[in-house]
Symmetry: C2
Subunit: 568 residues, 2 copies
Amino acid sequence: MAIRSFAKNSYRSILKWGDPHHFEEPKKRLIKYLKKNMGVTEEDFKNPHLPGLDKVKLDKLPALPESDISALKGIVGQGNVDTSDYERVKHSLGFTYLDIVKLRLEKVEPLVDVVVYPRNEDDVIAVVKFCNERKIALIPFGGRSSVTRGLEPIKGGISLDLTRHMNQVKKVNEINCSVTVEPGIIGPAYEDYLNNYKTPLSPGGYTNGHFPQSFEYSTVGGWVVTRGAGGLSTGYGKIEDMVLGLRFVTPQGLIVTKDFPRAATGPDLRHLVMGSEGTLGVLTEVTLKIWKFQPENRVYFSFLFKDWEECVISMREIMQGGFGFPHMFRISDPEETSIAFVTEGISDTPIDKGLKMLGYKDGKRCLMLGSIEGDKDAGHLIKKKAKAIAKKHGAISFFGSIAVKAWYKHRYNDPYLREELMDIKVMTDTLETACTWEDIPRLWAGVKKVVKARPSSICMVHASHCYENGANLYFIFISRMKPDDMIDDFEKYHTSIINAIEQFGGGLSHPHGIGRMMAPWYEEYMGETSMNLLRAIKAYLDPNNIMNPGGTLGLDFTGERRKAFSAK
Amino acid sequence: MAIRSFAKNSYRSILKWGDPHHFEEPKKRLIKYLKKNMGVTEEDFKNPHLPGLDKVKLDKLPALPESDISALKGIVGQGNVDTSDYERVKHSLGFTYLDIVKLRLEKVEPLVDVVVYPRNEDDVIAVVKFCNERKIALIPFGGRSSVTRGLEPIKGGISLDLTRHMNQVKKVNEINCSVTVEPGIIGPAYEDYLNNYKTPLSPGGYTNGHFPQSFEYSTVGGWVVTRGAGGLSTGYGKIEDMVLGLRFVTPQGLIVTKDFPRAATGPDLRHLVMGSEGTLGVLTEVTLKIWKFQPENRVYFSFLFKDWEECVISMREIMQGGFGFPHMFRISDPEETSIAFVTEGISDTPIDKGLKMLGYKDGKRCLMLGSIEGDKDAGHLIKKKAKAIAKKHGAISFFGSIAVKAWYKHRYNDPYLREELMDIKVMTDTLETACTWEDIPRLWAGVKKVVKARPSSICMVHASHCYENGANLYFIFISRMKPDDMIDDFEKYHTSIINAIEQFGGGLSHPHGIGRMMAPWYEEYMGETSMNLLRAIKAYLDPNNIMNPGGTLGLDFTGERRKAFSAK
């Protein structure tokens, strides 16, 4: 009895990912797999676990005095200040696994006191000034897609929601191939605007090049301040490769950088804003690279390898081949490949039997998918070169462009699955790490072993962003929830995985920040001097610690506080 | 009577660029041009102007007490501390125009007190600690190729020369395609090491990809801390695109960053080190990208355009074409093209006449040169695409690969010409700016007008580094010196050009930093909040202002001091 409707003001409406009318049913073959391997029963389907169907209702009033709320109304206008229970809850968390558990338990804490919708940069400047004087916590808010506890209002205060007003494309500069945009614009509005910006210089419009899995419900500002990666980052670059210039409001004043693609004018302060995750100020405008939109030029490739080792080597050789990079480029480890074969209905077909006879055995074989955008001839050349390398390492072409086109079509859908699985008491979450090519084999094996140490767990791994000098590893883990011990059980498991990532030389985050979730590991990861430097920067720009306080990036951890923050 | 020999310990030996036995005679046609247009006479050749042939001799002892010098000897060893007049002078300046004038006048001030050659990172840590405790200025020293007054020891102190010992390649990692190297290694030693690192994975060895004009006499550390650009940066990236990880000793401790190519782990502190120009600490190790060395794969192209506008548009369209980038890619403006035709002996030949008849007129026509390295097929494809764009904008192929091969061969030679020209009282210097594509036409015209406002001056301009969203403009100006007013006259002229760059929207530096030379413009360029943030970072990492103090990046300017620093 999957939940297909719920009240607009329910906890469910907050915990449900994305479009309220879009649902992703787990595929029948996946359900069969879960029943067989994880003890999922028909009973689980009949009684969704803690579905959060009640209306949001708080028993706490905002902690801020009425005078402060009046003052805020004076700055941004009466209608742009909201203290309703529903908006306070909605603005107090993102989509971290633990956030969803809180919503299912219908116990959300801590809470912001008030939601403020600034109309423009002047409003932001005034609100920051006010909060700084009154020492009120201020948390910039975009698409709410954080999976790192990035929005948790440890000190209450104000959620500064940039999506209502500050969501416009301000200028497309076709000569510079750049766009200037406000931070609160959501992915599709941004991309649609560019796609429809059709002129003699680019009859097909433009594309922004950044497509994280959260694309449909995340904002440009969120991408920038968390140093986001997207599905086509291998070709277009991560967000830090796209940002040309920005405007950033801090308690100490406005930082404005120039939009030269490269310069040698001292330290590059854009790289302090990128990754600041709300702790240093509020992004109010950003100028980014754009590209001509030519989906008709896309070239696709898809290969099947006999094993993971050869697959990784091939990916590396393609990235180091000196002939250009694919835009989308990913490899799936044997377990992810195996499950794809199951869910796509290829397992046990004559094709599968044929593949096995050729040496592409289940539990060993690995998929590689790729696409190239931009110039078609360059695309074909890169494909040809990639194919030669893959063949050299024992791969065969596999389903031509079908698998890659399916990836494009369904690339934003996976997050919808999580709520359906949690309804049947199945935990699913992901952790992603940066690594060098050299470390991939041991990092993959070491972390995987820890994930799989939990009985009946699935651990699908892929590398979906790569570079000449390394790649990411993306671990998807699926396991049975302990319904009576949801939080501690998850945290222990989760912590063991992060510890393994650290132990085997992975980075704390490849795609979208540290937040409060990875913060307990952050100081050791950065080293003492770097951490002290970050704290000095924070102390200068935000002397009253109003900007997203309470553990983000571990900037305001002290002694016991830090320890208590995590089970580590 | 060109100077072809001089004493080893003379001022001349310091002011002369590069190899003491390599001389670049101005081409006969250039001399003819200078005689005709700048009043250069045979007399000028007979009596070289202030040749600096005397031996270096100071009348000042080091200001540091003997106890400090002993303490330094205790740290790095007796033989690694030098207080000789010659080394003190040599370590007190670089190759800024005004540095050369000082050497010709044989009056070098200010001076460092002592030169220290650390043997390893531990030595650097100990020296930094000592200087911090004793509040002694410390200036990291590499190849001495600064053209921004980056080494001027305003507060005396110690020159920390990293070239004697800290000049080793520590590790080549072929899997990661990276190299870990000490900062004091000079370009050719570094590149030769990589070229000769031949293994089954790369039978032709590797290349470092970074080739500034100063390559033969500059260091890897200098490239990093000044955010350097090289002749092949369009393809391989600027140094900030190559740095993976680094180790950096500051008075507050050691900063170590990880060598993941991308991550989302907060602000990226590598971007504070890059561009710090000695003001925050001492780089002791850096891990950089490398590429397979395959010079046999190079593809060359060379086109002639009817005018500058079409040439710029073509360069932009090639960079925005989505088919990859050339590695070397440059366009020369009409004046630079015209002088190239003269000096290469093409002017007034039948070829020249034919070109003119076809509409490629002197004073209008512009050269475009390019090369692609790496994969040969990709190279040919990029060339084909570039050619199609160039043809569309009225260009013709021109001399095939000859001009580009000549560029490769002579790419490091131009700096040798400056001393020869100054000997005949001809001033030559360069200024380079970053800009967006949109601003190139007015920036080019506006700055050029200011340069040419000086009677009988030459202003050759090229764009030699470009990006999807902009390029550099490199202004070479040649004019007659005022022998009796060398400094003020130069400074006024120079200042007027920088003011014009600022006025017409150019960046203060594209290739190699701010130093003390551009510092008077820097605060206005960065904006108040950014500048205060940089000063806060400086105050934290270097609380006693020992690191390259006295105006670099304008960090320790205050009030009148700043004004007095420049004629602006």
